[in-house]
C-alpha cells in the first residue's frame, strides 16, 4: 500500500543531539498515533529519519535528499537558526514544507516554512513585563546574558529597545555574550553578582544556549545567587535541560515558554502519558518544542485533509487559518505570516525539575515575524494569504527580495 512520507530532520549526533533527539522521537510518536487513527487521506504515514549530525551544510544536503530522493510530503525539523537558514533555499527551490518548532529570533517569514515555536514577542517581551511587575519583583536593573549568535543578539536588541522605552537607563542594562559551549562561568557570574548588588532590584534575562546552561546554573548555585536576590529568566531552559541539573539550588529561577509539562489540562496529561509510554520511561519529560511539533503536525494533517492532497503547494495555501487546540488550553491558529498564536507562561523552577507557572497571558499572542522594536523591520509585514509576501514594506508598498 502506498504511504505518505514525512521527513524528520533532527540531529541525532553531535552537539545538538542533546536537544533534537527528543523531537525526532516525538515526531515518531505523533506519526504512529496518526497511523493508529487511520493515517491521512486513507494512507499510512511513513517517517523518514535522517541524521544531519549538527552539521549545517549537512542539513541542506539531507533536506535535499529527503525531498528529492525520498519524496517526502513535508519535513519536521531543525533547531538552531543556522540549520534553518541552511535548509531554507532548499525548501524554496524544491517547493516543500518545513515545520520549525523552536523559539527563534524572528525576522523571517518564508512561504515554505511554518514557525510553530515562539517569536520574540511571544516569549521575551512578556517575560520582561512580568519581571518588571510587582509580582515579578519589580526589577529595575537588567543583565542580558547570551550566547554570541543571532538569536540572543536579536532578542537582546529587541529587549534593549523595549526596556529603554519603559524608562530603563543605559547604565542599568548590562549586555554580555559568551561563546557556544562556554563552561567556565566564574567571572561572568561574579560580574552579575556585582552588577546586582548596586541597590536596585536586578534580574537576568538569559538567552544562553544549549550545553552552556548547565555549568551556568551550577555556578549560580555555587556562588549562592538565589532567585530571591537576582532572578534569572531563561528562554532556552526547559524540562529537558533541567533533567540534567540538580534543581534544588535553582528554585525560583524562571523560564518563559508557551508550554510547561506541569500545566494541568486533560490534553496535556494524556499527551504526557502517551509520551512516557512511548519512551517506556515513566520519568520522560515533555517540553515546549515538542508541543510545537504536536501543534504543527496536527495542523499539517488538517491542512492535508482540507486540501485533499499532500501536494505542498496546496497544503501551504490551506494551512493559514487552520486551528489546533493547544495542550495547555486555548486554540492555536496558523496566521497568514506562518506563525501561530500562543499563550505565554512564566514558570518558576521547582525542586523536582518542573516549573510552577506563576504568570500567564490572558489571551493568545499572535506571533510577529517582524519585530516592531527594530529599526529595519518595523515597517515590514508578512502575509502569505492576501499579500503573498513575507516581507511587504508598508511604507514603500512593495514586496522586498526576489
Amino acid at each position: 500500500q502506498e504511504t505518505i512520507k514525512v521527513g524528520i530532520l533532527h540531529s541525532l549526533s553531535g552537539t545538538m543531539a542533546i536537544s533534537e533527539t527528543t523531537l525526532k522521537d516525538a515526531m515518531l510518536m505523533l506519526i504512529a498515533e496518526q497511523n493508529a487513527k487511520g493515517g491521512v487521506l486513507g494512507k499510512k504515514l511513513e517517517p523518514v529519519v535522517v541524521d544531519p549530525a549538527s552539521n549545517w551544510p549537512l542539513f541542506a544536503e539531507k533536506a535535499r535528499e529527503l525531498i528529492s530522493k525520498d519524496k517526502v510530503a513535508a519535513v519536521f525539523g531543525c533547531w538552531t537558526s543556522v540549520s534553518r537558514k541552511s535548509v531554507l533555499p532548499v525548501f524554496k527551490e524544491l517547493d516543500n514544507i518545513l515545520f520549525y518548532p523552536v523559539q527563534y529570533e524572528g525576522e523571517e517569514s518564508e512561504r515554505n516554512v511554518f514557525y510553530t515555536g515562539a517569536a520574540p514577542n511571544q516569549q521575551a517581551i512578556p517575560a520582561v513585563d512580568y519581571l518588571m511587575s510587582e509580582d515579578g519583583g519589580g526589577a529595575k536593573r537588567w543583565v542580558l546574558e547570551g550566547t554570541d549568535y543571532v538569536y540572543p543578539r536579536t532578542t537582546n536588541k529587541i529587549l534593549e529597545a523595549y526596556l529603554k522605552s519603559k524608562g530603563v537607563k543605559d547604565e542599568d542594562i548590562l549586555i554580555n555574550y559568551t561563546p557556544f559551549g562556554f563552561s567556565d562561568w566564574q567571572t561572568e557570574v561574579s560580574k552579575i553578582k556585582a552588577f546586582g548588588s548596586a541597590g536596585k532590584k536586578t534580574a537576568v534575562v538569559s538567552t544562553i544556549n544549549g550545553d552552556a546552561n548547565v555549568p551556568f546554573y551550577k555556578e549560580l548555585g555555587n556562588q549562592g545567587i538565589k532567585a530571591t536576590d537576582i532572578p534569572v529568566v531563561a528562554f532556552s531552559v526547559g524540562e529537558e535541560e533541567l533533567a540534567g541539573i540538580d534543581a534544588k539550588p535553582l528554585v525560583g529561577h524562571l523560564a518563559a515558554w508557551n508550554y510547561f509539562e506541569s500545566i494541568k489540562t486533560p490534553e496535556n496529561e494524556a499527551f504526557i502519558k502517551k509520551w512516557q509510554a512511548f519512551k517506556k520511561n515513566p520519568k520522560a519529560v515533555t517540553n515546549d518544542p515538542m508541543e510545537a511539533h504536536y501543534i504543527g503536525f496536527n495542523m499539517w494533517v488538517k491542512a492535508v485533509e482540507k486540501a485533499g492532497t499532500t501536494d505542498p503547494d496546496k497544503v501551504i495555501d490551506a494551512l493559514p487559518g487552520i486551528e489546533q487546540k493547544n495542550l495547555t488550553g486555548g486554540t492555536a491558529t496558523m496566521l497568514p505570516n506562518h506563525h501561530i498564536t500562543k499563550p505565554v507562561f512564566i514558570g518558576e523552577i521547582e525542586a523536582n525539575g518542573q516549573f510552577d507557572v506563576v504568570w500567564k497571558t490572558d489571551t493568545l499572542i499572535p506571533g510577529e515575524a517582524w519585530s516592531k522594536q527594530l529599526e529595519g523591520s518595523k515597517d515590514l509585514e508578512a502575509d502569505w494569504v492576501k499579500l503573498k509576501c513575507g516581507n511587504y514594506n508598508t511604507k514603500t508598498k512593495t514586496c522586498g527580495g526576489a
Binding site: S13, T21, N176, T178, S183, K218, N222, G224, T228
Partner: protein, 524 residues
C-alpha cells in the same frame, strides 16, 4: 528565655499594626501580593506559630481548604490547623499555598526578623544578613533588641551593618544618625555596601553626601584589589580544571606518544561512572550520598582504565611506531564511544548531584571562594603529585619511560613491554576517568562532555612541553590565570582568542613548549 524576649519585643511592636488585616486570611488569598502581605503581617503580628507556618509555606506544606479558606499544615502524615494547631481531616480538594519569588523574599525577610532572637549564632547572623538585604524599617526594634544582648562579635557586626542599612533606607532618619551609619556600611566594604552608599548621592544633606563619597572611594580601592585577587583565584580554578582534563593526556600522549583523540571520551566515561554510582547510591543507600564522589573516584579510574586497557590491547598496540595512525584509530574509537554512551544513556544530560561539602561558598577575607572549586583544585594537585610520584619514583614509572623511549630495547632488557604498554595506557585513561568525576561537578554530563576538553587538553600538554609533567602543570595554571585576568576586560571570546594567539606566538619562541628539555637527548 530568649523566646519570651522575642515575644516581648514583638508584642511591643504589635500595637502599631493592630489595625492590620488578618494575616491568615491573606495567606489563604489568591494573588501573590496578598500572600506576601500575609507573610509580613504574620511576622509582625508576633504570632508564636509564625515560624512553623512560614517554614511550611516555603516547603510547600501549607495548604488551604477552598471551602472555608482555612489554612492547614501538613506534618508528616498528619494535617493540623495552622491557626489552632488542632488536627484536621484530609480532603482531596486541598490546595497548597503557592509561593513565588516575591513571597519567598517576604518569607526570608520575615524569618530574618524572627531569627534575630535565635539561640544559634549562625542563624542570627543569617537573619542579620536577611534584614540587611530587606532593609525593612519594621525590623528596627527587633534589631535594637538583638544588638543590646548580642555577645558574638561577628554577629554583632552583622547586626550593626543591618541596622545602619535600615536606618539609611528609612525615610526620616535624622542627619546625624545617617552620618553615623555610614562608617558601619563602609566597613562592610562589598558591592552591597557600595550600592547603599551610591544611593545616598541624592541625599539632601551635604555632610551625608560627602561621607558617602568618602566611603565609596574607600570601598572602590578595596574592591579593585579584591577583584584582581578574585580573578587570579578564578584563573587558578580554571587552570585546575584544565590540568585535570590534560593530565591523563600527558601520559597517553605526552609519555606514550599516542595521539589520543579518545581522551575526552575517557573523561566522559568517568563522569558517567559518577552518575551511575550516584544512581545506585540514590536507590540503594541514600545515606551514603555524601560519599558518592569518593566512591566514584576508584570506580571511574577502573572503568576508564579498563576501557583504556582494552583499547590498547585491541588497537593501539598494533600501531606503535606509527603514531600518526593512532590519531585515526582513536578518532574512530572516540566516535564509537560517544555514540555508545548516547545509545545507552540517551543524548540528554544526566544529573550528577553535588554532595554538601561541594556546594556553597565561603568568604575568605572578602574573596568569595566556592567549596566545589576549592576541592577541585586540591584534587587536581593531588592527582598531579600522585602521578608524578608514580612516574618518577616507582619501578613501574621507570619501565614506562623506558618502554616509551625505546620499545625494542626495553624488551631486550627484559621488560614485558605489552604489559607495561597496557598498564600505562590504562593509567592515563584511568586518570582521565578521575578527571571526569571532578568535571561532572561543573559541566554537563552528556555524550559530548569530552569534546569540550580535547582541544584545550592538547594545547595544555603541548604548551607545557610534551612529556614534561611539570610543564603540564605550569601550562594549565598559566593558561587559566591569563584567561581569567583578560576576561573581565575583553570578554570571554576575545580572551580565548587572545590566548590562542599567545600560544601560537609563544611556540615560535620556544618551539618545544614551556619546559622544553634541552640538549642532545631530545634532538632528532
Amino acid at each position: 528565655m530568649l523566646r519570651l524576649l522575642t515575644l516581648l519585643v514583638l508584642l511591643l511592636a504589635a500595637p502599631a499594626l493592630a489595625q492590620a488585616p488578618d494575616p491568615y486570611g491573606q495567606l489563604a488569598g489568591d494573588g501573590y501580593a496578598e500572600i506576601e502581605a500575609g507573610v509580613s503581617g504574620l511576622a509582625a503580628s508576633g504570632d508564636l506559630r509564625a515560624d512553623a507556618i512560614l517554614s511550611a509555606l516555603s516547603d510547600g506544606r501549607l495548604l488551604v481548604r477552598p471551602a472555608d479558606r482555612t489554612l492547614l499544615i501538613r506534618q508528616g502524615g498528619t494535617l493540623v490547623d495552622a491557626r489552632t494547631g488542632a488536627a484536621a481531616a484530609d480532603s482531596p480538594d486541598l490546595k497548597p499555598v503557592r509561593a513565588n519569588n516575591r513571597v519567598r523574599r517576604a518569607i526570608e525577610a520575615a524569618r530574618g526578623q524572627l531569627d534575630l532572637a535565635s539561640p544559634d549564632p549562625g542563624k542570627r547572623r543569617i537573619a542579620a544578613d536577611a534584614v540587611f538585604k530587606a532593609r525593612d524599617a519594621a525590623a528596627l526594634p527587633a534589631l535594637d533588641a538583638a544588638l543590646a544582648r548580642e555577645t558574638s562579635a561577628p554577629v554583632r557586626q552583622a547586626l550593626t551593618e543591618a541596622r545602619a542599612a535600615v536606618l539609611l533606607a528609612r525615610p526620616g532618619t535624622a542627619e546625624t544618625d545617617r552620618i553615623a551609619a555610614i562608617p558601619a556600611i563602609q566597613a562592610r566594604g562589598d558591592g552591597d555596601a557600595m550600592g547603599i552608599l551610591r544611593g545616598l548621592a541624592a541625599d539632601p544633606s551635604e555632610a551625608v553626601r560627602n561621607a558617602a563619597a568618602r566611603g565609596i572611594a574607600a570601598i572602590e580601592t578595596r574592591l579593585a584589589i579584591l577583584g584582581a585577587l578574585q580573578n587570579v583565584w578564578y584563573g587558578i580554578s580554571l587552570g585546575s580544571v584544565l590540568l585535570l582534563a590534560a593530565i591523563g593526556l600527558a601520559i597517553t600522549f605526552g609519555v606514550m606518544g599516542v595521539i589520543n583523540m579518545a581522551h575526552g571520551e575517557m573523561v566522559m566515561l568517568g563522569a558517567y561512572t559518577t552518575y551511575g554510582v550516584q544512581e545506585v547510591i540514590r536507590t540503594q543507600a541514600p545515606s551514603l550520598f555524601g560519599w558518592s564522589l569518593a566512591i566514584s573516584i576508584p570506580c571511574a579510574f577502573l572503568v576508564a582504565g579498563l576501557v583504556g586497557v582494552l583499547i590498547e590491547r585491541f588497537i593501539i598496540r598494533f600501531l606503535y611506531g606509527r603514531p600518526l595512525e593512532t590519531l585515526l584509530a582513536t578518532f574512530g574509537v572516540s566516535l564509537a564511544l560517544q555514540q555508545g554512551v548516547r545509545s545507552i544513556f540517551g543524548p540528554t544530560n544526566r544529573e550528577v548531584g553535588a554532595p554538601a561539602f561541594m556546594s556553597g561558598a565561603f568568604d575568605f577575607y572578602g574573596l568569595s571562594i566556592t567549596w566545589g572549586r576549592m576541592w577541585i583544585i586540591a584534587f587536581a594537585l593531588a592527582v598531579f603529585l600522585g602521578l608524578l610520584f608514580v612516574l618518577r619514583r616507582t619501578s613501574f614509572g621507570l619501565k614506562t619511560r623506558a618502554v616509551t623511549q625505546n620499545r625494542r630495547m626495553a624488551a631486550a632488557m627484559g621488560i614485558r613491554t605489552p604489559y607495561v604498554d597496557a598498564l600505562t595506557f590504562g593509567l592515563g585513561s584511568g586518570i582521565a576517568g578521575i578527571a571526569g568525576v571532578a568535571l561532572s561537578q561543573i559541566d554537563n554530563v552528556s555524550p559530548n562532555l569530552g569534546q569540550g576538553y580535547i582541544i584545550d587538553s592538547f594545547l595544555v600538554v603541548v604548551f607545557g612541553g610534551v612529556g614534561n609533567l611539570w610543564g603540564t602543570l605550569v601550562a594549565a595554571l598559566t593558561l587559566g590565570v591569563v584567561n581569567k585576568l583578560a576576561e573581565p576586560y575583553v570578554g570571554a571570546v576575545l580572551a580565548k582568542i587572545g590566548l590562542l594567539v599567545f600560544i601560537i606566538l609563544f611556540i615560535q619562541k620556544r618551539p618545544r613548549g614551556l619546559f622544553a628539555l634541552k640538549g642532545r637527548a631530545v634532538e632528532s
